[in-house]
C-alpha cells in the first residue's frame, strides 16, 4: 500500500496491507479520507506506479490496472467529483468494483476500503502522507520495527 502526497513533493508513504486479496495489478484512488491524497494498493511497484500515473493524467479518479488493461472513472473536480451524468458515473463505478473483484479482491467494496485506509480517526493501522499511523495510540509507527 502506498500513499502519494498530492500537495507536497514528499516521498510516498509506504506500508503493507493484508487480506486485500489482489492477485494481480493494482488499484488506486484520489478519494482517500479525509485529506484525499492518492492511495494505491497493488501486487507490484510497477503496477502501483502505473495506476497512480493514470490518476494523475486524468487529474483525479479511481482506477484499476492489470496487465495491459486500464480502467478509470475520472474525477477531475478536486480529485473526488466527476463532471459526468449520474448514469455514466454509476456504471463506471460498478465496472471498477467488478474489475477489482476479478483481480482477486474478496472485499465487499474494495474502493471504499481503499479510501478508508487513510482515515486516521478510525482504528487500527492507517496510512497518511506522513507515514504509517496507529489510530488507537494516535501516533506514527515505523514500518519495520514492529
Amino acid at each position: 500500500m502506498e500513499l502519494f502526497p498530492t500537495l507536497t513533493d514528499a516521498k510516498p508513504a509506504i506500508g503493507f496491507v493484508k487480506n486485500f486479496g489482489l492477485k494481480k495489478g493494482a488499484i488506486a484512488s484520489s478519494i482517500a479520507h479525509d485529506s484525499h491524497n492518492i492511495i494505491s494498493v497493488g501486487t507490484s511497484d510497477e503496477a502501483i506506479c502505473e495506476a497512480v500515473n493514470l490518476i494523475i493524467e486524468n487529474r483525479g479518479g479511481i482506477c484499476a490496472v492489470s496487465g495491459r488493461k486500464q480502467k478509470i472513472l475520472p474525477l477531475p473536480i478536486g480529485g473526488i467529483i466527476s463532471n459526468s451524468d449520474y448514469q455514466t458515473v454509476a456504471k463506471k463505478y460498478s465496472e471498477l468494483d467488478r474489475t477489482a473483484k476479478e483481480m482477486g479482491s474478496k472485499l465487499s467494496s474494495p474502493f471504499m476500503t481503499l479510501s478508508f485506509m487513510a482515515l486516521l480517526v478510525i482504528p487500527e493501522l492507517k496510512i497518511s502522507d506522513k507515514g504509517l499511523f496507529d489510530a488507537e495510540k494516535f501516533t506514527f509507527v515505523d514500518l519495520f520495527s514492529q
Binding site: D34, I77, I80, A90, S128
Partner: protein, 339 residues
C-alpha cells in the same frame, strides 16, 4: 419545468398527524388554499424526503447532478456537509458546492465544516480555523456548523474548536455532532457545549442516552455505515427526536434509492407511517429551520405524489410548485458542466 396549479389526493398532514382528502391550490410556488373534500382518491400527497446529513461528494457527482437522481427518489432537500471538498480546496470548494446546488430546484443546505483538516497527522489542501468559520457562518448561505468529529477536542477544551462552536451558537445556527460511542460524563460535556445532533450511534442504548440528554439522533444507513436495524426502534418512543441520513452514498447505490428506501423499510416493519414521515420529512425542517414546505397554507409547494403509503412509488416530485421528477424520470435537464 412544468408548473402545477392544483393537486388532489389524500393529503398527509404530518404536523397534525392526520390524513384527509382534498385539493391544494398553488400560485407562485406557494400553497394558497387547501380545500377538504369527501371524495375518494387513489394517490397520496406527502411532504418530500430530506437527507439530514450527507457528504454529497460521496456520490462522486456535482450537487446539480446529484439532485437529478435524488429527486426521482422523492428527495426534496438535503442537509449537506462539504467536508470532503473543503479538505482539498477550502472555501473555494465550499463555494463550488453552493453554486452548483443553486442551479437546481432541490434545496441544498450546506454547513461550515468544523474539522478541516481532520487530524494534525496528515497534509490536507486547506485549513479552516475559527476566523474562516466565522466568515462562512456570517453568511446566510451556510446554515450550521457541521459534524464536530474532534470530540476529544471538545472534552479537552481545544481553544480554536470551542471558538468555532461558540461562533455558530452566537449566530443562532445549530452545531452537528459526531461522537461514536461517547457516553457518560464526557458525553454530557460534549452536549453542554451546544452540540445538538449525532449520526454515529451504533447501539440503541447509546442513542437513548443521547436523546435523554437532549440530542436529536440521525438514523444512518448509507453505503459505508449502516445503523438502521439497531436504531429504528427509537422511532416508537422518540418519534420527534429522529431523522434519517445516509452520510455517504456511492453512485451505484444512489441509482437504487435514497431516503425513500428507509421510509419503505420502516413502514414494512410496522412502524407508524406518521412517525416514519416525521423522521423523513418534518423533524429536519424543525431542527435546522429549513424553508421546506409541509403542506400547510402559505408553505412552499414542496411535496410528493405517491401511489400508497406502503410501496411509496414516487409518481411526482414537486418543489416550489414545479414538477422536478415524474414517473421515475428527472424532468430537469443536465447542466452543462465544464470545470
Amino acid at each position: 419545468m412544468e408548473k402545477i396549479k392544483e393537486i388532489s389526493g389524500n393529503i398527509v398532514d404530518v404536523v397534525n398527524s392526520k390524513i384527509y382528502g382534498g385539493t391544494l391550490y398553488i400560485e407562485n410556488g406557494k400553497i394558497t388554499e387547501i380545500k377538504q373534500s369527501s371524495a375518494k382518491y387513489e394517490n397520496y400527497v406527502i411532504p418530500g424526503f430530506i437527507d439530514a446529513h450527507i457528504h454529497v461528494e460521496s456520490s462522486m457527482l456535482t450537487p446539480a447532478e446529484f439532485a437529478r437522481i435524488a429527486a426521482i427518489h422523492g428527495t426534496i432537500a438535503v442537509v449537506s456537509d462539504p467536508h470532503e471538498i473543503a479538505n482539498i480546496l477550502g472555501i473555494d470548494g465550499i463555494n463550488f458546492m453552493l453554486e452548483s446546488g443553486k442551479t437546481v430546484p432541490i434545496k441544498f443546505y450546506f454547513g461550515a465544516p468544523s474539522c478541516v483538516p481532520a487530524t494534525e497527522f496528515e497534509t490536507s489542501g486547506a485549513k479552516l480555523d475559527s476566523e474562516k468559520i466565522k466568515s462562512l457562518l456570517k453568511s446566510d448561505r451556510l446554515k450550521y456548523l457541521s459534524e464536530v468529529m474532534n470530540f476529544p477536542g471538545v472534552i479537552s477544551n481545544d481553544p480554536d474548536l470551542m471558538k468555532k462552536v461558540k461562533i455558530a451558537r452566537d449566530f443562532g445556527k445549530p452545531v452537528d455532532g459526531h461522537a461514536p460511542g461517547l457516553r457518560g460524563k464526557d458525553l454530557r460535556k460534549y452536549i453542554k457545549s451546544g452540540i445538538s445532533t449525532d449520526h454515529e450511534c451504533f447501539s440503541y442504548e447509546e442513542a437513548e442516552e443521547k436523546i435523554r440528554l437532549g440530542m436529536k439522533i440521525l438514523i444512518r444507513e448509507g453505503s459505508a455505515a449502516k445503523n438502521f436495524k439497531e436504531l429504528i426502534p427509537l422511532l416508537k418512543k422518540y418519534p420527534d427526536k429522529c431523522m434519517f441520513c445516509c452520510d455517504d452514498k456511492h453512485p451505484n447505490d444512489l441509482l437504487k434509492g435514497h431516503i425513500n428506501e428507509l421510509v419503505k423499510r420502516a413502514v414494512s416493519l410496522n412502524y407508524d407511517v406518521i412517525d416514519v414521515l416525521k423522521a423523513a420529512c418534518l423533524n429536519p425542517v424543525l431542527h435546522y429551520k429549513l424553508d421546506v414546505g409541509l403542506l400547510k397554507k402559505g408553505d412552499s409547494a414542496d411535496f410528493l405524489v405517491v401511489n400508497n403509503l406502503r410501496e411509496f412509488e414516487i409518481l411526482k416530485t414537486v418543489i416550489d410548485g414545479k414538477i422536478v421528477a415524474e414517473n421515475f424520470r428527472s424532468v430537469s435537464k443536465r447542466k452543462n458542466q465544464n470545470y
